[in-house]
Symmetry: C2
Subunit: 240 residues, 2 copies
DNA sequence: CGTCCATTTGAACCCGTTCAATTCCCGTGG
DNA sequence: CCACGGGAATTGAACGGGTTCAAATGGACG
């Protein structure tokens, strides 16, 4: 077992900065982030935080992928969000000074920075532009969550799976030959089911049907989208 | 048909103020709200705004009740939120300067104030404490929405109905004799179904079962909770 | 008092779950 | 290098919760 090694990554020169909420911080603020920041490699399966614990800082993904999820009283998992390079995790609990109300676990290993609570809140309170940016982000998150709620409440599993594949294609798509797109994220079938809110077996069966319809192809556990238009049709029951 | 009459209600003396986000505004800010504010009576069925339109101001309920909902492509309605006296509606679209992504319709008549966008944004931008308060509110909303998502995705209709009745009891409960609580909101069975994400008939059947179990009683379309503990058990499949 | 919509009840159907069995894949140790 | 073990993925089959369609009843309101 290798020792966890602190990696030196300056926020100012972080390759993921351009995608992140920190993208328009000034030089001073960025440097202040570096002072107490830590950054270590996380392996698949490691958990960044558990629901019910108190946030002490902010996670920022330099690389790797993380799922954010809640566990119900009867032990089922519901994935709320997937995070990739440049994404923050756990800012809501930090801002509202409450306990985490979800857990976060690494699904693809990567370097993840940790900015102590005090440093983050200091920038938040002293940089109105950043404050506004966070507010905007919360508004966006809320809109996304509302849309997810409607989809889960009103669409069939088949439609939700098609919609989820399209969403994953947008976020994790790697263009391939002949208009095909590889969904480049190591999601297990179970994870996929826990995004959609269904049983693993149902996901497997529907994926197999989509494959027979030549909407997708399966390369091991990775999925390649062959016919996005076809998926759009599947996603909208009475669509255009 | 009566003419819409502008009602004079001062924010500073609004009976609902103590419950609202405006509760700790100072005197000057409150008075500035009154200048351009309008306030009229809305009847049941009237719509405050439609999804896809541009917000021009903020709705604040002095009295009455409003449902906020989205309509899916195949015409189904999903209720996202219920608002009552003291509640704001539509602040998210206003803050993030986007189109409404839900519609709002009156379900119980009441007086509803309308604060022009400029006045609201002016207070937001010049009163850091209020800004923080809004941020906090957005965080809370997001947490609530996430919990709803998990519940709809992972719980049975029966459990969701029980949970919804308990939620309605908290928000709209009127204590009655013998530990019973009347849920004082004029929700149709269809509305209730559209909160839970199920069919109207299913709601009716389950309500009837709950009545037979003596968890609730039905008084016309209003529901009285007789055994909240029993409902808690129904809400948690593998509860405590 | 009649009309119209909401509510209720009935019954058939089907989507999705659940349980069970098999196969596949991958890392690990002999 | 290959056999082994174990979890993930797949397939099969039966069950059941919930939807859908249809019809009857009730209740509000003009």
């Amino acid at each position: 077992m290798a020792t966890k090694k602190n990696i030196k990554i300056s926020c100012a020169f972080c390759a993921s900065k351009k995608d992140s909420l920190f993208s328009d911080l000034n030089k001073d603020d960025l440097e202040s982030l570096d002072i107490h920041k830590s950054c270590i490699m996380y392996k698949k399966g490691q958990t960044l935080y558990y629901e019910g614990t108190r946030p002490m800082g902010l996670f920022c993904l330099n690389s790797g992928k993380v799922k954010v999820y809640k566990i119900t009283s009867d032990g089922k998992e519901q994935i709320l969000n997937l995070a990739k390079a440049g994404d923050f995790i756990g800012y809501r609990a930090l801002i509202s000074e409450e306990f985490y109300n979800a857990s976060a676990t690494v699904i693809e290993e990567g370097a993840i920075c940790y900015i102590p609570k005090a440093d983050f809140l200091s920038i938040l309170n002293n940089n109105p532009r950043f404050f506004k940016r966070m507010m905007q982000r919360l508004c966006d998150d809320l809109g996304i969550m509302e849309q997810k709620l409607v989809t889960i409440a009103q669409k069939s599993v088949r439609e939700r799976l098609a919609a989820t594949l399209l969403m994953l294609k947008e976020s994790y798509g790697l263009e391939g030959e002949e208009n095909s797109t590889l969904i480049d994220i190591a999601l297990s079938r179970e994870d996929l089911a826990n995004i959609i809110g269904t049983a693993t077996e149902t996901v497997i069966r529907l994926l197999s049907e989509f494959k027979n319809q030549e909407l997708i192809s399966l390369q091991g556990k990775k999925i390649k989208v062959l016919d996005p238009q076809g998926l759009v049709k599947e996603a909208d029951f009475y669509g255009i």
